[in-house]
């Protein structure tokens, strides 16, 4: 059963170089995300990953097409959708006069719920930082705290936008384990990433986007079998990075 059902999703922006024209940042995307899976969206910069997520999260208006999350139509009832999802954004700044426990309490109040902030901080391994301010956290701690903030409403679906960008290998592994634990507890997870290893390691299924379009969607293994180059004299080689480069080309993106 799909917990997220997206059909012909479109978002158009004004062209930065010519304001009279528009381009489709997201161009007729259709996808289905199953309950309980980890779903990764890959793509070069500007492929439309973040725009797609923000439309699903109710942060950006849907120009055309439909998105149904947990039976709720996002464009009709964004506030109802927001109640069942948790979101970690790319930017992770918070009010700098509040400590972690106060921020978590604030977020829970915005959902009109009460939480045990120490339990939540313990879950993301930040209990000893309960009285610290976010500006004094390391990159990895900040990302874990962002996830804790996204969990205050006990969401059915967790959206993570490039959760490990800029993290050192230890912090990255640590975050992967957190994501796996959350998924093991039954949470559906949708993430975007540039990190192919991450996609391969974490995701049950992967969608690859380029120039606003969905160009491939399958399990990592199926994608490798289908797209990675297979020299005849060597057994299966290559990885998701090969698949990615094969599909999106080698040219640099901004």
């Amino acid at each position: 059963m799909n917990i997220i059902e997206v059909k012909d999703l479109k978002k158009a922006y004004l062209l930065p170089s010519d304001k009279t024209k528009t381009f489709n940042a997201v161009d007729s995307i259709s996808l289905g995300i199953k309950k309980g899976e980890v779903y990764g969206i890959l793509g070069p910069n500007g492929a439309g990953k973040t725009t797609t997520l923000e439309m699903l999260e109710g942060l950006k208006e849907i120009d055309d097409g439909s998105a149904i999350i947990d039976g709720i139509d996002v464009s009709k009832d964004p506030y109802e959708v927001k109640k069942v999802i948790g979101v970690q954004l790319q930017s992770n700044e918070y009010f700098d006069k509040l400590d972690l426990s106060e921020l978590l309490t604030l977020f829970s109040k915005l959902y009109s719920t009460n939480i045990d902030h120490s339990k939540l901080l313990d879950q993301v391994n930040l209990l000893d930082k309960a009285n610290a301010k976010t500006q004094h956290l390391s990159g990895g701690q900040r990302q874990r705290f962002s996830i804790a903030c996204a969990l205050v409403n006990n969401p059915k679906i967790l959206f993570l936008d490039e959760p490990t960008t800029g993290l050192d290998p230890q912090a990255k592994r640590n975050l992967w384990n957190l994501v796996k634990d959350l998924n093991a507890s039954g949470m559906t997870i949708v993430l975007t990433t540039h990190n192919m290893e991450e996609a391969e390691h974490l995701c049950d299924r992967i969608a690859i986007m380029d120039e606003g379009k969905l160009i491939a969607e399958d399990t990592p293994k199926a994608l490798i079998e289908k797209y990675a180059p297979k020299p005849s004299d060597i057994p299966l080689t290559g990885n998701i990075e090969d698949v990615f480069l094969n599909l999106t080309g080698h040219s640099l993106r901004d």
């Binding site: 950006k60 109640k83 006069k97």
Partner: protein, 362 residues
């Protein structure tokens, strides 16, 4: 009336403000310093120190000295000419009155010399008037005349008004303008730039919840800070306050709402801190000059007055002054109160017109 989320968010905004000791200090420092000056210069001015060289040493000269001494405007020091002149040069004395040896009005020699450093004496006319007045009363006393005329000053409103009474309401208006615009405008730009606004709207709160919280928190902040200044002025400087406190606080809230609306408007137009600063300055600075905060609008060139008196800060300052100094009631009919109402409608319209939600959050 308010939801739990709104109240909690407002409480958080208030808490963050109270933790910003620096900003509280600087918000209070300027008005406090400004009116604090009146602690030392307010009330009776210091007596003017005048030296007397009595060369005549007769009854007439002595009665002149004692009469001059009785005048509270002067503090009289008698001494030798050379000593007093040194003191005059040192600036310890403002002037020296020299009574010549032949000082006798019957012999038509009642002529005094007033020695001073004219470049140092701003109150020359005042000193001259006082001395002449003293001479006049001595003359009357000696001749046994009653004064023919006397001038008594009667305030039409039957009360005395000092500059500080005029200043404090204007200063309160100026403070509430700055606090309100900072609260909505600057915060909006800051929270948007840092992505905090977007993070807030990932949760199911609505734009109006955010606005209500900012407004509630700012009203509380304005009331707290203005109360500090107001009660300092009332208790320490004993400023005149005739109207009702309820009307005054009501007016403070209405004024804050106007500038909060303007702030939301500026915060929506300007995308960066660099952009909002000049925008806000070009709004507040002319009002600081033109709105009669430090001196009455009637002292401005006549051509500007009709415009100046309808500026938002002007109508608010004048209304606060009307309440404090003239006992105006919030419900009475008054042009300035009408002005406040009109600006409230205009600013609310502008704020809702320019506050495009998704653009603001994104």
């Amino acid at each position: 009336m308010f939801t739990e989320s709104q109240l909690y968010l407002a409480m958080v905004f208030l808490k963050m403000f109270l933790r910003d000791i620096q900003s509280i200090f600087f918000n209070l420092f300027f008005p406090m310093a400004f009116i604090g000056v009146f602690l030392f210069t307010g009330g009776e001015p210091d007596p003017i120190k005048v030296g007397i060289v009595d060369k005549a040493q007769n009854q007439l000269s002595r009665s002149f000295s004692s009469l001059l001494d009785q005048d509270t405007t002067f503090e009289v020091i008698e001494g030798l000419e050379t000593d007093l002149k040194t003191q005059l040069i040192d600036g310890e004395l403002i002037a020296i009155v020299e009574i010549p040896k032949q000082f006798d009005y019957e012999n038509q020699t009642g002529k005094l010399n007033l020695i001073l450093d004219a470049s140092q004496v701003r109150q020359l006319d005042g000193i001259k008037d006082s001395i002449e007045k003293t001479l006049l009363s001595i003359e009357r006393e000696l001749r046994g005349n009653e004064a023919m005329f006397s001038l008594e000053i009667v305030d039409m409103k039957a009360r005395s008004q000092r500059y500080i009474d005029f200043l404090v309401p204007g200063l309160l208006a100026f403070m509430l303008m700055n606090l309100s615009i900072a609260g909505s405008g600057f915060n909006l730009v800051e929270y948007r730039r840092r992505g905090i606004l977007k993070r807030l709207f990932v949760t199911p709160i609505m734009p109006k919840d955010f606005i209500v919280s900012i407004v509630l928190a700012r009203l509380a902040i304005v009331l707290i800070q203005l109360s500090v200044i107001l009660w300092f002025a009332l208790l320490v400087l004993d400023i005149q306050f005739i109207g009702g406190l309820l009307s005054l606080y009501g007016m403070i809230m209405l004024g804050s709402l106007i500038f909060l609306c303007f702030g939301f408007c500026f915060g929506s137009i300007a995308k960066t801190q660099e952009a909002i600063r000049p925008l806000v300055t070009s709004f507040t600075f002319p009002q600081l000059i033109l709105s009669g905060v430090f001196f009455p609008i009637s002292s401005l060139p006549e051509i500007i007055q009709p415009i100046a008196q309808w500026l938002p800060l002007s109508v608010i300052a004048s209304s606060l002054r009307g309440i404090a100094n003239d006992g105006l009631n919030l419900l009475s009919f008054d042009l300035n109160l009408m002005g406040v109402l009109i600006w409230l409608i205009v600013s609310f319209f502008l704020a809702t017109r320019y506050f495009v939600w998704r653009d603001v959050a994104g």
